[in-house]
Amino acid sequence: MRISGMIASALLAAAVAAQPLAAAEVRVLNWQGYGTDEAWGVEAFEAATGHTVVHDYFNSEQEMLTKLRTSPGAYDVVLINSAFTIQAAEEGLIQPIDSAAISNFGDLSPGLRDAAEFRLDGDLYGVAWTWGLTSIAYDTEEVDPGNSIEILWDPAHAGNVAVRDDSVENVYLAALATGQNMNAPEDLDAIRQKLRDLKPQIRTFWSSEDEWNKEFAADAFDVAVYWSGSASRSAKAFGLPVGYLIPKEGAIAWLDGLSLAAGSANPAGALQFIDYMVSPDHFVRWDTEVGAPASANGVAMNQLPEDAFNRQVLGDPAATANLQFMAPLSDETRETFLEIWEETKAWYAE
């Protein structure tokens, strides 16, 4: 009796101990250095909720989708560019979110929060988090930026340009440079040629923010495609002489949302994490101390100081007049873009 009682209570204790342990983890899939993994933020969240936060990273939206596909159940929260949210939902990689669980949901700017890109069959699949630009960053000590996207093709910067190894992004840039609607380009041959013309310019492909900063610090390139939030981080947190150009031809704008992975072992913790991420608490500290893209939370944006990069650059109506937001792509278009880029890369390597 005593022995069996001991065994039973030991088993029970083990079961109880195992249960919250397994559930107390929030596993996040995101770009490295993109807000969710700031040490102070993780600590604050862990202290407030008792969950531990674990990160895994991707270098492209495609890689993110592949990770979700090949590792079902391995993640709780995943950052998805709104142009890819519906695709992920259709493939069953993410699950619907009950907006009532997100206490900050009401503070999100309606235009971003209710974007059609986050919804499939009326269900909410992504919580609008941040938005920003993919445009051109330059070395303020060596480059006079001008106001055109043609700076990437300027022979003065031959061998000093870096782009990201990403098919969609580069096709979009070439579309902007050739005066096309990037979401529905008609003259693909012009895009092909424009990308090929980049060959003498390109110094390297960068694959992560960390790599961008390291190579920039080592003076490997002077002009490079970069994200607006990352550029402000490079200048603020790393003290690099980085300036940011929004060309007259326009820039790629994106809206990032946080989604709940299908098969999440800890959906409640995941939603708590998303809620914390979209809160003004997190965003204001992120932007003032580290550097961030613009928040989808209007309340959070209003708490930023007047001279904040986000207010200065993204707040300028003239500069942002020509933004084109990334729209979802069909499978066929994606494959076409991928083929254009792969062919171009093969041409660069020759």
């Binding site: 495609q62 259709e90 390109i202 792969e342 062919e343 093969a346 660069y348 390597a349 020759e350």
Partner: protein
């Protein structure tokens, strides 16, 4: 008869486990990949399996894929050739001219880097080769005023990294076959008045061919399938067939295309092995 049965059981028990393991981890996966390379799409999402030749066709209709395959082969030739040029003389000196403890010590020194992580060594080359890096600084301190040396993100950087990774193989295999050459054979040649150049070309080189061939294969095959060295060292020059295959699995989830390209690469490897087989057979006999 009973002895024969026992013999058979012994053979089965001794070889069975190893070959069962190889079957599950090498041959079965290759079969699965072969199957998928003939599928229209990978095992994701909701769609029925559908036979398709389009991924093999892609290789033959898309010129850039052929270019990249050729580029990988070219890279294999360059790396193997350089390994022979650098490794053979070193192996020769080590095997024939240095004796005793020194030889033991030097041999170990050459093998040791093999025991360190290949990836990290490639990574450290990026620090050596970058502008204002170690090589640049060293050269500048010897000859000031020279234009900055900057080899990162270039084809030579890939070659340097790969040669560094695979050179020990060549030295090892050449060392083994050179060491096995009977000294009395060379003495006989010398006593007949043969010059050292003649001895090298007519006796030593032919006897070292198995070692050269084994080393070349051990280098050529992994090099044409390499992907992380070109990626980390080559920058925009780092696109090869290996990186394209890798991307099909880790980035764009197009398993069928990745599989088809893999099997085309494999066919080329087999072709090369078939050509080299007679030489290797001799090598098997001598060791």
């Amino acid at each position: 008869m009973r002895i024969e049965t026992r013999r058979r059981w012994a053979i089965a028990w001794l070889t069975g486990p190893a070959y069962l393991w190889l079957a599950v981890t090498i041959f079965l996966p290759l079969s699965a990949m072969l199957y998928f390379s003939f599928q229209k799409k990978g095992p994701f999402g909701k769609h029925a399996s559908e036979f398709s030749l389009k991924h093999y066709e892609a290789f033959f209709t898309k010129g850039y894929l052929q270019d990249l395959m050729w580029r990988s082969l070219e890279m294999g030739f360059h790396v193997t050739g350089l390994c022979i040029l650098i490794g053979f003389p070193a192996a020769y000196w080590l095997a024939r001219r240095i004796r005793g403890r020194w030889r033991e010590a030097l041999f170990l020194l050459i093998v040791l880097p093999f025991w360190s992580n290949a990836l990290v060594r490639v990574f450290s080359w990026t620090i050596v080769l970058r502008p204002d890096g170690v090589l640049d600084r060293a050269v500048q301190s010897v000859i000031p005023g020279l234009p900055a040396i900057d080899l990162t993100d270039s084809y030579p950087a890939i070659i340097i990294g790969l040669v560094h990774s695979y050179l020990p193989y060549m030295i090892l295999t050449c060392f083994l076959s050179l060491q096995a050459i009977d000294e009395s054979l060379l003495e006989a040649a010398r006593s007949l008045g043969a010059r050292s150049w003649t001895i090298l070309v007519r006796i030593i080189l032919p006897l070292a061919v198995p070692g050269l061939a084994a080393g070349s294969i051990l280098i050529f095959v992994p090099v044409i399938g390499s992907f992380f060295e070109p990626r980390l060292l080559g920058g925009p020059k780092g696109t090869v067939i290996g990186t394209v295959i890798e991307e099909q699995f880790t980035v764009v989830s197009n398993w069928p295309l990745g599989g088809a390209l893999s099997f085309i690469l494999l066919a080329i490897v087999l072709l090369i092995l078939a050509v080299a087989a007679p030489v290797l057979k001799n090598h098997m006999r001598t060791t």
